[in-house]
């Protein structure tokens, strides 16, 4: 029997305990694996576990810890921070010798022949990868209901979605199955599930983290980022994965600062960062479709930041209304090409029938789910002769205008504060029959991807017993700045009652009679 209390620790606390010899990396990984085994039937956050590899990585971490302990405290301090800390990778991170399906039947059985750059960096840092987390197929979705392998539940209410597309990562972190997880965010896929599951998540600046080895959805929008239970854990994992990669020509040589160093341990010191800061509330992000409870929590958060010394100003991002249309032209257009490689010839699912054309039709017809097909059709249409100028080219012009809105805003303010999602977690099946309603889940997050900026979400309370996320958006490359604000917000709300609440349905997850999450009859995708 392992000690489940270990799973309640933050990643930094685990790192501290490992160095202090309070427990071993092996004990840590066993505690997390046991919890996953005990609770994942009802949650379905995981698609794949590699327990053998995880135990081997943990044992290696223990050996390094033992060596360092013999050498002295300097050697212990020199060890990578996340050595021995368990984490999960979204199922679109390709790893050598392990499956990666990107939540799709078309990649069924695909075993990666190489490590994604971030996976290699995570392994070098000594963190222990447990396996792959559930997601909307090819990251196309906002609820994880579009996974070919069945949906993930929200630990706060098992009848509700965890958000998406990184829903498995968010739910796993919320349910204490891992302290850290990797997600990707093309239009909100880290921030929105983080908000809906009551955890923290950051989408870095486009180009900050290598995309090499990340199954592509929309190349000019995709970014990899961490999910965690607080801002400093986000910083610790971001530190490991950030930085230029020669294998990704769009990754940037902009130097990566020491993120954790600028996030004080002490609450008073952390809160002091707010003094003299100008934060903008973009009025277009509080529009129709926003739940009153969400708006209330976000405005309360703004008020708390203001009373701690920040100046809150009203700003306008006038082209926000074009964000959704712009995104749903650019992302599907890029996806229509990115997903052309799934042809049943070299890897993954193949119908193996008929001639070349028949095999394409059968393989892609049975391998892709309806949402992926919808976006391939949208993107193919937008790029077609005669429509290209009206759709793709126009969307690129709108993209320029949306960027210019943010540029103008950051002339006046240090960061923007907004809701992450207009609603709290919605019931499973509620939006699967209405794609546009589903797309509206991302109205507050996708302009940030369109502009390539860093944005994060941290919990800011509950509405109707479900978590609400506070989104903080910064200028390009200023992840450190928005993490400082997030850390300050945590400091000034450290005593809030909602911070001590566990996800309401955690006890149900421990009940072996809890069924696997599923969609209500008639709402299947």
């Amino acid at each position: 029997m392992t000690d489940r209390r270990l799973t309640r620790l933050l990643a930094r606390e685990m790192a501290h305990g490992l160095r202090a010899g309070e427990f071993s990396a092996r004990e840590l990984v066993e505690a997390h694996l046991d919890l996953v085994h005990a609770t994942d039937r009802g949650l379905h956050a995981w698609l794949f576990l590699d327990e053998e590899a995880a135990r081997a990585a943990a044992d290696l971490a223990d050996a390094r810890l033992a060596d360092a302990r013999r050498e002295g405290s300097a050697a212990l301090d020199a060890l990578p921070l996340l050595l021995g800390v368990p984490l999960g990778l979204k199922d679109l991170v390709v790893t050598r010798g392990q499956t990666s399906t990107a939540g799709s039947r078309i990649l069924e059985g695909f075993v990666g022949p190489f490590d994604a750059t971030i996976a290699a960096r995570i392994r070098e840092a000594g963190a222990v990868v447990l396996g792959k987390t559930n997601m909307d197929e090819f990251a196309m979705g906002s609820s994880t209901e579009h996974s070919a392998w069945g949906p993930t539940a929200n630990p706060w209410n098992l009848g509700r979605v965890p958000g998406g597309s990184s829903g498995g990562s968010a739910a796993a972190v919320a349910a204490y199955q891992v302290p850290l997880a990797i997600g990707t965010d093309t239009g909100g896929s880290i921030r929105q599930p983080a908000a809906l599951c009551g955890v923290a998540g950051i989408k870095p600046t486009y180009g900050r983290v290598s995309r090499y080895g990340i199954v592509a959805f929309a190349s000019s929008l995709d970014q990899v980022g961490p999910l965690a239970r607080d801002a400093r854990d986000l910083a610790a994992l971001l530190q490991v994965i950030a930085g230029r990669d020669v294998r990704d020509s769009t990754s940037s040589p902009v130097p990566v600062p020491d993120y954790l160093a600028s996030l004080p341990e002490g609450d008073d010191e952390a809160a002091a960062a707010l003094r003299g800061l100008r934060l903008g509330l973009p009025r277009e992000y509080f529009g129709a479709g926003m739940e009153p409870g969400v708006e209330a929590r976000v405005r309360e958060a703004a008020a708390a930041l203001e009373s701690a010394g920040a100046e809150i100003v009203d700003v306008s991002l006038p082209h926000t209304e074009y964000g959704l249309a712009t995104y749903y032209l650019i992302a599907p257009a890029e996806a229509s090409a990115n997903l052309a490689r799934y042809d049943g010839i070299r890897f993954g699912h193949s119908s193996r029938q008929g001639d070349v054309l028949a095999n394409y039709l059968a393989t892609r017809g049975t391998g892709f789910g309806p949402e992926v097909k919808r976006r391939i059709v949208l993107g193919t249409y937008a790029l077609s002769a005669g429509y290209y100028d009206a759709y793709y080219v126009k969307a690129q012009k709108a993209r320029t205008l949306i960027k210019a809105d943010f540029d103008a805003a950051f002339e006046r303010v240090d960061a923007l504060v907004a809701p992450t999602s207009p609603t709290v977690a919605f019931p499973l099946g509620a939006r699967t029959q209405d794609p546009v309603a589903m797309y509206l889940s991302d109205t507050c997050t996708l302009p940030v991807n369109v502009a390539g900026l860093p944005g994060l979400s941290v919990p800011c309370g509950l509405s109707d017993g479900l978590p609400v996320g506070l989104q903080i958006i910064g200028p390009a490359w200023d992840e450190a700045g928005i993490l400082r604000i997030a850390r300050a917000y945590e400091a000034i709300t450290a005593d809030a009652g909602w911070r001590r609440l566990d996800p309401a349905d955690l006890p149900a997850l421990d009940d072996p009679k809890t069924p696997a999450p599923g969609l209500p009859a008639g709402t299947a995708v």
Binding site: A216, S249, V356, A385, Y388
Partner: protein, 501 residues
């Protein structure tokens, strides 16, 4: 199209057709690695799918990284054809499904090619001709399909991804070409240019250079365009000329018989000496080009371009002009030397060595050129490795001949051994004991012996038979093991015969 066909019918019965030809060349760039990954681009003796990696196999999650050398080679090609070089360029995705295209799109260049609006001047049997070049851009090659049958006899296709992702230069001309010969000459001259600047080995036989021709015809003197066909599968320069000539004839025959042409792709069958329909192209393909988001746009900064320009060798046209107007070679010899980069390099090295010799021992360029166009090219063609000729050694040898230290005949033998081994000519001459006998006293003894031994030939000489003189000279050369100065022997034999008379 309808208009063009109508024009053709009006001209029916008239003999004069004019062909309108545009050429598209794909050449494999001479880089060490592929265009977007580190796989070796040297495919000699490579088994199927041995030069592959996740990137060129189009695995999930991979990203391209541009090969800077490939870009430089396209830029130098652009400079060599006097093209405008783009200051900012980018890559585009050309989308289509086929098993030879692992990503389902080819990374190419659409509206911002690296180079545009160039030209290439060439000579034809009808005089000089300049072809305007529309664009030169960089793209990746596809895999190769091999259609075969499995053990049960079922027809299958195998894919070899070795070529997938090799860097290709695509050069497209304006429809300026009017004859099959011009087309062949353009292809030859382009190949020479690419080899000279080191952009490509451009061997047509092994697919490093692929030529496609868009061919249409119209009544001479009109300016519209006829229905064109795209001719492919021409695997040699000869095939280019024959295929296009055939295609012009075929189109004329169709129109003259009252038929209509369809836009199509036609292949060239070298054995049957005709083109055949590969596929109809009535609907233009929609490749849904859009900018490649995985590669940032590329700025060609002036310092980079200057460095490339500075490292460019002398181009063939300029070199030919120099050989004729400054060195005094015939246009034919200049053409032969420049057409072969190795011969050209040998000649240049020989000239450089000659420049270091005192004037009285310095061979004239014409003499060196004769050796290059004659002996060198003959010997080089017989060898797979082209031989080991050195320009400095060639100059030394020609200089020895000029000084009378070695006979012309023996010099050829020495040169043959030098090309074979690379050994210095002095060493070959001394090891073979070939220093020429130009001493009349020494030669007189040999001549006396030969005349004494061949009284019948001596008699024939006196009877006026020139053949007999040549026989006696040959005997003297034989007796001196070829070391005699042949011109001197001939003079001495005639003198001695006259004395005896």
């Amino acid at each position: 199209m309808a208009e063009a066909a109508a024009q053709a019918r009006v001209a029916r019965g008239a003999v004069a057709w004019e062909a309108v030809i545009g050429i598209e060349v794909h050449a494999q760039l001479r880089t060490a690695s592929k265009m977007f990954c580190a796989c070796s681009a040297d495919l000699r003796d490579a088994g199927p799918n041995t030069h592959t990696c996740p990137v060129c196999l189009g695995m999930p999650g991979v990203l391209p990284v541009i090969n800077r050398r490939a870009v430089e080679l396209v830029l130098s090609t652009g400079m060599a054809i006097d093209a405008e070089i783009a200051s900012v360029t980018r890559w585009d995705r050309k989308n289509y499904f086929y098993p030879d295209l692992p990503k389902g799109y080819q990374i190419s260049q659409f509206d911002l090619p690296l180079a545009a609006h160039g030209q290439l001047a060439l000579d034809t049997s009808e005089g000089p001709f300049t072809v305007r070049i529309r664009r030169a851009h960089l793209e990746e090659d596809t895999a190769r399909l091999q259609h075969t049958a499995d053990a049960t006899g079922r027809r299958i296709s195998l894919v070899d991804f070795n070529r997938s992702g090799l860097p290709l230069l695509e050069i497209v001309t304006e429809p300026d070409i009017r004859t099959a010969e011009q087309a062949r000459r353009y292809a030859e001259e382009l190949r020479l240019l690419l080899r000279t600047i080191g952009a490509s080995d451009a061997e047509m036989e092994n697919g490093q250079m692929r030529v496609e021709a868009n061919v249409s015809i119209r009544p001479a003197g009109t300016h519209g365009f006829g229905v064109r066909s795209e001719v492919k599968n021409m695997n040699s320069f000869r095939a280019v000329e024959r295929a296009i000539a055939h295609e012009i004839e075929r189109q004329a025959a169709v129109l003259e018989a009252g038929g209509t042409l369809v836009q199509e792709t036609r292949g060239w069958d070298d054995v049957r000496n005709e083109t055949y329909t590969m596929r109809s192209k009535e609907d233009s393909d929609d490749y849904r080009y859009f900018p490649e988001p995985d590669l940032p746009p590329l700025r060609t900064d002036p310092a980079w371009l200057d460095a490339i320009r500075a490292s460019m060798p002398e181009l063939p046209a300029k070199r030919r002009t120099r050989y004729v107007s400054i060195l005094g070679l015939t246009p034919y010899d200049a053409g032969v030397i420049v057409a072969d980069p190795a011969a050209s390099a040998l000649f240049e090295d020989a000239l450089a060595s000659a420049a270091g010799l005192p004037a009285d021992r310095r061979p004239v360029p014409k003499a060196l050129a004769n050796w290059v166009t004659g002996e060198y090219l003959r010997l080089a063609k017989q060898r797979d490795d082209g031989g080991h000729a050195s320009g400095a050694e060639l100059t030394r040898l020609v200089s020895m001949v000029g000084e009378g230290r070695i006979s012309g005949t023996n010099a050829k033998e020495v040169f043959g051994r030098h090309v074979g081994s690379g050994e210095p000519v002095e060493a070959i001459v001394s090891s073979m004991g070939l220093t020429q006998i130009s001493d009349s006293v020494a030669l007189s003894a040999a001549i006396d012996g030969v005349l004494a031994a061949n009284p019948a030939a001596v008699a024939d000489c006196r009877a006026g038979k020139d053949q007999a003189v040549r026989f006696l000279v040959g005997q003297v050369m034989k007796a001196t093991r070829g070391q005699a100065n042949a011109t001197m022997v001939q003079r001495l034999v005639r003198e001695r015969l006259e004395e005896r008379a």
